[in-house]
């Protein structure tokens, strides 16, 4: 026996490195989730801003909020827009998914790509595209006015906001429906065909009902997404005074000369409760969802249904949608970025310019915003991936006493809207001692981003972890490796693809992110999203368009590297 056997009978050290890491990670997760929440709740019950001295407890904020006509109308607008947007996104998503995956629609592969584009572009960028194309001074609007003498639509309306919000959320519905649609057993459709049903009838009576769980589940996600969206209402609603919960918080907390933090904190608490309630409903739905299961786990090669006489009408409808709703607004951004001004009466060649790009790429503060965005996305992506990895490992594969609570905690930020997370960290920085260091640099942005996206990152890693047999770690333990060695030598290497997918997901989300940042930006710490908003406030549309193009380019380059070099599997969420 050449091996020195362990000194096992000796009383064990209570604190070893495994305890240190498991409890350390749990403490970090607890702190970054609790840090923003507690100050918001506190703020809603005190009579002055949290950073002033001499707080007195009061319920006046709640009374003021519920008697404020602005708040009540914002609440109503939010609900109406979210309902309409969800209907639009689910109809478009389900129809798109069915046509692309189950039928002989011409160019269906191309449509499968184009309809998902809004997923990779932030809703802020798409809103700008819509504004420049269909807004009151938009390119197509002006063209319409020249021909017909008036503009037949009004983008600055509840309907206009709901339409744009619905389009930005449609890809999520489509992804969920596509995942289900590709695994439907084709014999279910063939049975209907043998019984004499025509293609459209089959799609309506067999395929669509099978997609119901996917439509309802993604619908709830999209409904929550529409409620917490800041971009569309701020671009398309604020100019005409249509406010929503997010813009109510934004105008009272950021752009007002005298921020009313009593109202802001209270509105944030209410928004949090609203989303929590929706998540509760979602979980209820999920627990009852197993009886919907009609599709096997096997990835069957779906046989395609012939649309017959509907082939070309369907192609026309989906083609017009892709062109008018997605391609044109994005193309508009590129065009607008390359001209001094746009007017249907002036030839584009005469006003062609690169000055918007050169201005952004040579002005230090704009350069800094781009560099900051990449630094924040990469750092927060890296930290977030590691934190999600350890959270998943501790909650699923350790014996730590609080592992169940840890998982619950890590998933909780799902219910914290981005803007509320921003306010929470803003308040936390105001009260926590020593936080000025975090505030001075990009630290607080990174923390806030990581916190808000913990559930998304956890969702990217946890399913992969469940695929790895626990016997692999038990084998490591009996052989003599402690928990951390098992993690480092066995689980982490096996989870490498999931970690890369997680990093990709987080990086892209962080490049697009802006609503968390609006409360946390200070001079020197701007990111692309906040710079876009300030360009827009100053009416510099050429710069807005150019910076949008730069943001899209960063995401495209990163996705290319991720797919080709890092071989990240094409999972999105």
């Amino acid at each position: 026996m050449t091996i020195t056997t362990s000194t096992a009978a000796a009383p064990q050290r209570r604190i070893d490195r495994n305890t240190l890491v498991t409890y350390g990670v749990s403490a970090v997760v607890f702190l970054i989730v609790a840090a923003p929440l507690l100050p918001i709740i506190y703020q809603s019950f005190i009579d002055r801003p949290i950073y002033d001295i001499g707080h007195e407890l009061t319920s006046a904020n709640y009374i003021r909020l519920f008697t404020s006509p602005e708040f009540l109308s914002a609440l109503q607008n939010t609900i109406v827009i979210a309902v309409l947007a969800t209907i639009i996104s689910q109809v478009v998503g389900a129809a798109g998914a069915i046509l692309v995956t189950r039928t002989d629609l011409p160019l269906r592969r191309m449509f499968g790509q184009v309809l998902l584009w809004p997923f990779f572009v932030s809703s802020l960028v798409l809103s700008f595209g819509w504004f420049m194309m269909y807004g009151p001074a938009g390119f197509l609007s002006m063209w319409m006015r020249t021909i017909f003498g008036h503009i037949p639509w009004n983008l600055y309306s509840i309907g206009g906001m709901a339409l744009v919000a619905g389009i930005t959320h449609a890809p999520l519905a489509m992804l969920y429906c596509m995942a289900t649609a590709t695994s439907i057993d084709p014999s279910l459709e063939e049975a209907a065909r043998v019984s004499g049903a025509k293609p459209m009838r089959i799609l309506r009576t067999v395929t669509l009902p099978l997609l119901t769980p996917a439509i309802v589940y993604s619908g709830l996600l999209n409904f929550m997404g529409a409620i917490e969206m800041l971009s569309v209402p701020i671009i398309l609603g604020e100019p005409v005074g249509i406010s929503t919960l997010t813009t109510f918080i934004y105008t009272n907390g950021v752009s007002a000369s005298q921020p009313d933090h009593g109202l802001v904190g209270t509105a944030a608490v209410l928004m949090l409760l609203l989303i929590l309630g929706l998540i509760f409903m979602q979980n209820r739905f999920l627990s009852g969802a197993t009886r919907f299961v009609t599709v096997g786990g096997k990835a069957v090669r779906p046989r395609i249904l012939s649309l017959g006489a509907w082939r070309w009408p369907a192609f026309t409808i989906i083609g017009l949608y892709a062109l008018l709703m997605v391609i044109l607004p994005l193309a508009m951004l590129l065009l607008r970025a390359l001209v001094r001004f746009l007017n249907p009466a002036v030839s584009i060649v005469d006003v062609f310019t690169f000055e918007h790009f050169t201005e952004i790429l040579t002005t230090p503060i704009y350069q800094r915003a781009i560099v900051n965005t990449i630094i924040v996305a990469a750092t927060a992506g890296g930290i977030g991936t590691l934190l999600c990895l350890f959270t998943a490992l501790i909650s699923q594969r350790s014996t730590m006493r609080f592992r169940g609570q840890l998982q619950y905690l890590a998933l909780f930020p799902k219910s914290i809207p981005g803007i509320v997370a921003g306010i929470g960290f803003f308040y936390a920085m105001a009260v926590l001692p020593g936080s000025e260091y975090l505030r001075a640099g990009l630290g607080v942005l990174i923390l806030a981003y990581v916190m808000r996206y913990l559930p998304a990152g956890f969702g990217a890693i946890q399913p992969a972890l469940m695929q790895i047999s626990p016997e692999l770690d038990r084998a490591g333990r009996t052989i003599g490796a402690d928990w951390l060695s098992v993690v480092g030598n066995i689980l982490a290497p096996l989870l490498r693809p999931a970690m890369l997918a997680c990093f990709t997901l987080l990086f892209v989300a962080f490049v697009k992110e802006y609503s968390i940042a609006v409360f946390l930006i200070s001079p020197g710490n701007e990111v692309i999203g906040s710079t876009l908003l300030s360009f827009w406030l100053h009416g510099e549309m050429g710069s807005v368009a150019a910076l949008c193009c730069i943001q899209i380019t960063i995401i495209m380059i990163f996705m290319f590297i991720a797919r080709r070099v890092l071989r990240v599997p094409a999972t999105l969420r």
Binding site: M1, T2, I3, T4, T5, S6, A8, A9, P11, Q12, S469, E471, L472, R474, A475, G476, R477, T478, I479, G480, A481, D482, S485, N489, I490, P493, L494
Partner: protein
């Protein structure tokens, strides 16, 4: 190597009792099998031995070192026990080659590279897998993976070897070969081995002793011969091999031999268990291969008249199913048997159990 002492180990998961009051003593170099149906607690017991699960009560020491004690609160983590565990699924790490799989434990123990390589090769030579050293587990067959899994645990000279149904994923032919190979290797190394299986043939062929488990408890512990020939309960008799259980009334007990009267008035004699009482209901256990047709000179024989129900041809033997007084009696023999026969059940091979145990299996 080491001896294993387990005393009164219990493990509950909420209301569910996984094991209760499990005690055994495995001598140095001995091969003990934990045998029982699925859910009997044998894998829980193995997990507790390995340190992957913490029992609620009891005491466990291996090689003189206390690994668990419910009273003093001592619990040693799996990685500090220096035991070898081979899993049913082999649990080879898919991202490591055979060399890295086998060498991982040596790396953890900071063995220098040259020494490590030598010991990897030794361990692989032991299981005749040297030529596969650079393969990944996915490039090996089931039998080869099983050998590598064994080499992986042997590489660091574990105190004892724990085997969790390592043969169950092999096909029948390969399993027979692997079984005798495993037994030879264990004898050659002299390592104390605890083997978990639900396969009684494996248990009988491999073990020095067998601990039969049912519903979280050890119901009998003994040599394969003892377990087979002298089962302690109808459960053991029925679980190990096939046995006939014939129901009747105890009419008398004399000199350890009970006379059992069947419902049709026929009677049988059988070795009485100590807890058998006259007047009670008994189950007489007798192996099918022990039963034969009574010779014409029937004096002193234990004879039962029975009628043939079914005949199944098994190749080397024929399995007959007879009926007598509502009992099914199986007889396994190469001979041809008539439609109606006087069956001779040798008294030394008949055991009478009290029929208090609700079921016969």
């Amino acid at each position: 190597m080491a001896e294993v002492i387990a005393r009164n180990l219990s493990r509950r998961y909420g209301e569910y009792i996984a094991i209760e009051d499990v005690s055994f003593h495995v001598k140095d170099g001995e091969f003990l099998t934990l045998l029982g149906p699925s859910g009997c607690g044998k894998s829980t017991t193995l997990g507790i031995l390995a340190g992957l699960d913490r029992p609620d009560e009891g005491h466990l020491s291996i090689g003189g070192e206390v690994f668990f004690d419910g009273l003093t609160g001592v619990f040693v983590d799996a990685e500090r026990r220096n035991l070898g565990l081979v899993f049913q699924t082999y649990a080879l790490w898919p991202h490591m080659t055979v060399r890295d799989n086998v060498g991982y434990a040596l790396r953890i123990r900071r063995i220098p590279r040259a020494e490590r390589e030598k010991r990897i090769r030794e361990a692989l030579a032991l299981v005749e897998m040297e030529q596969f050293i650079d393969r990944y587990p996915s490039q090996l067959s089931g039998g080869q993976q099983q050998r590598v899994a064994l080499a992986r645990t042997l590489a660091y000279n574990p105190r004892i070897l724990l085997l969790d149904e390592p043969l169950s994923n092999l096909d029948a032919k390969l399993r027979d070969k692997a079984r005798s190979w495993l037994r030879q290797l264990q004898t050659q190394l002299g390592v104390t081995t605890i083997f978990v299986t639900h396969d009684q043939i494996e248990a009988l062929a491999l073990s020095d002793r067998i601990a039969v488990m049912n519903k979280g408890r050890i119901v009998q512990i003994g040599s394969p011969r003892e377990i087979y020939e002298e089962p302690a309960s109808t459960f053991v008799a029925d679980f190990i091999g096939t046995t006939n259980l014939i129901r009747g009334q105890v009419s008398e007990i004399a000199d350890g031999i009970a006379t059992i009267t069947l419902s049709d008035g026929q009677s049988l004699r059988a070795v009485a268990r100590s807890d058998l009482v006259a007047g009670g209901v008994a189950l007489v256990a007798c192996r099918p291969e022990r039963i034969e047709v009574a010779t014409t000179d029937a004096a002193g024989q234990n004879v039962l008249r029975a009628r043939l129900i079914e005949r199944t041809y098994l190749g080397a033997r024929v399995l007959y199913e007879f009926g007598a007084a509502g009992n099914s009696i199986k007889v396994e023999t190469p001979c041809e048997l008539p439609e109606e026969a006087d069956l001779h059940l040798p008294v030394d091979h008949c055991i009478a159990f009290p029929a208090t145990e609700a079921s016969t299996g």
